[in-house]
Amino acid sequence: MSNPAPILLVGLGGAGCSIVGRLAPALPQEVKVALIDTDATTLQNLENAEVLQIGRALTRGMGTGGEPAVGLTALEADEPQLRRILNAYPLVVLVAGLGGGTAGGAAASFAAMATEAGATVLAFATIPFSHEGERRKRQASEALTKLAAKAHGLVVVENDLLLMQVPADAPLSASFAAADEWVAGSIRALASAFMPGALVPVDSASVRSILSQVGSPTLFTCGHGEGPDAAKLAARAACESSLSYGLGTTAKVGSLFVHVAGGEKLSATEAFEVVNMVRAKFGGEVTTLVGARIKPELGDRVEVAVLGASLPPPPKPKPKGKAGKGGKVVDDQQQIFGFATEESIRRGLFGSTPFTFIDGADVDVPTYIRKSIRLATGP
């Protein structure tokens, strides 16, 4: 492939642009960056970045005001420019905050457009904090369902869960840095797979083969460890990360891509040990791709990133999904892999029971989640 940058990282909407904007300076050469938004003020001027303001005639450079319909119209209005940007990238990574109007409305169509252009689309979607209100939550979950059907892979980042990962007294910037780290971990790992000079190289086509089909349930997790047992610690951190969204302990995926990066001391044995631990946890019976890389600057630190996907469930002869609350069809298969229905993860054992509202809050959701209280870390 003649294109010098095989990965296109797209920030869509205000939240997506700000994550990508913060991420961009730390990215390797192999990643091309594009920022797309309706709001002119969020579009920063980055070096080597494509910046596109969509729907200029529609919103006159302002935001969408949280209206998904406006976001969608804006995207459709500027379709030719988008197609030009999307041209000839094998892998498109889309970062979008689904609570707002631009990303909430346009993310699914954008993913469809990129797929038509021949790219494999991996989407990172952030779900707004629960204290941002019911409307944004509902918009986000609607947008998520649409996006899941269009993107090859979808990784959901729950802002609420992210908040619990950082210490209670951490500055605001640290909690957002946690979100960045999560997305960046994956992108770095993917970019590394394409870079020459890896200990165990993989070619880009095989990474694409993991996310071969649109709508595959996706797993993403990452972790790092330091010290003498760094590789094991990193693998364990990745397996037990609470952000590896909604995956039950027994849920397995068909294909796995495991990327291990470490200092000069990292041996192939250690790298494969990591892969074995990850496989034991997440499966990967169909294909397991291993990428390993030595980065001298890491010292005794080891970083593990895992991307996995299953083939989407075959269409059933008649829809077996139970009608959940409000007639929404709940697909069992999707719940296992956690396409972020709020009910499935937050309500736990009360998942299928009617909501219980006290003072406007669903009290079946654990108190610590509703109050956004960070829990003490594990043992």
Partner: protein, 411 residues
Amino acid sequence: MKKKPLPALITVIDIGTHKTVALVGQVINGKARMLSFSERRTDGVVKGTVVDLDKLHASVHEVVNDLERVTQRAVHEIYLSIAGPSVEGERVKGFVAVPAHDGKVTPRDLAEAIASAKRLEPPQGRMTMLYMRQPTLLDGRAVANPVGLQGKRLEVNFWRITMEEGNVRFRVSMVNGMSMHVREFILASHAAACAVVNDTERQGGVMVIDVGAGTTDWILYYKGHILCAGSIPVGGEHVTNDLSVALRISRDTAEDLKLRFASALHRPTDLNQTIWKDGNQGVGDQQFNRGTITQVTSLRFQEIIEFVRKDVVRNLEQIFPGHAVKFDQNFLPSGAILTGGTANLADAVEATQTVLGLPARIGQTQFDTEALRKPEYAGVVGMMVAAIEDAPPVVRRPRGTFDWLRDLFRF
């Protein structure tokens, strides 16, 4: 009021979200001797609401079989507890102007006042279950028995308990289906109070919080009478659920960890403790930080008590409109008494004291069997006490399923 000799046997059944408990007692000289006791896991009830009638039927049937096997006698009539979100209470009033020439209240005046209080129909789709007596006022003064006293205006008050009609209907038909009939319904929180609160405390002012598995029921006594009662659809199951979500473990494991390590207070020193899931440190054993567990459980428990506090304050504002009744120790000198299974949570008393700002204690039943002196059995033991105390009126065999229900008016 006519009194009929009590039946030789009293059977009480308390159907909870987690377990169904039943007692058969023989009444001798106003005291019950326990003949039989049964406890079974309840199926088909979630958050105090019945979701699977067949399963529930099977659970209750097992309990009744247990009782009959031990007592060697058939159970014909039972006292059944009512609790949960479908039960609601409100104050109803009846007035009468005392017409007599000498201004003395006659029994007839009293009956008229009571009739006028009970004339008010419950809202559509709800059924009156119980009337519980509240202070009788004669010219604004509270009197125990107004008959024969001088006065102009007689006011009687009741705390009327209503329940969704469908909910009552299936309870009754379930019991009838086992060839028994419900002699009386007893409010579960009132029953718990009967077991753990004495008259002095009730006179001063006390509240009982029955933290069950699916629901938390509370009742408040003031000047010897029930003042108000309520229910919140949150309970011990939610504590378990929170743990299972937070630690990503199964429900049973969460329940086990809750019983062993949970607490209603989170202390920073808990963070230094690491606990094992099974304790044998074998294959599949997992380590958890005790601090995480106490954090999750304390947040939930304290929130439950906070919900109760809000509910009480809301009720008090309705009862004493305009008067700023402070919900503090001056108002309730005897404070709060915790019953129900979740009251076994470590430090529940301290947490309740902190949240409510009232003295608190765990309700111990004064029952002769050691095993039943636990807060989770306060409900069923109290039902027995209430059943004896109640001095039940003549109960005719029901003509129809509902006719007799309307005859339940009494005080």
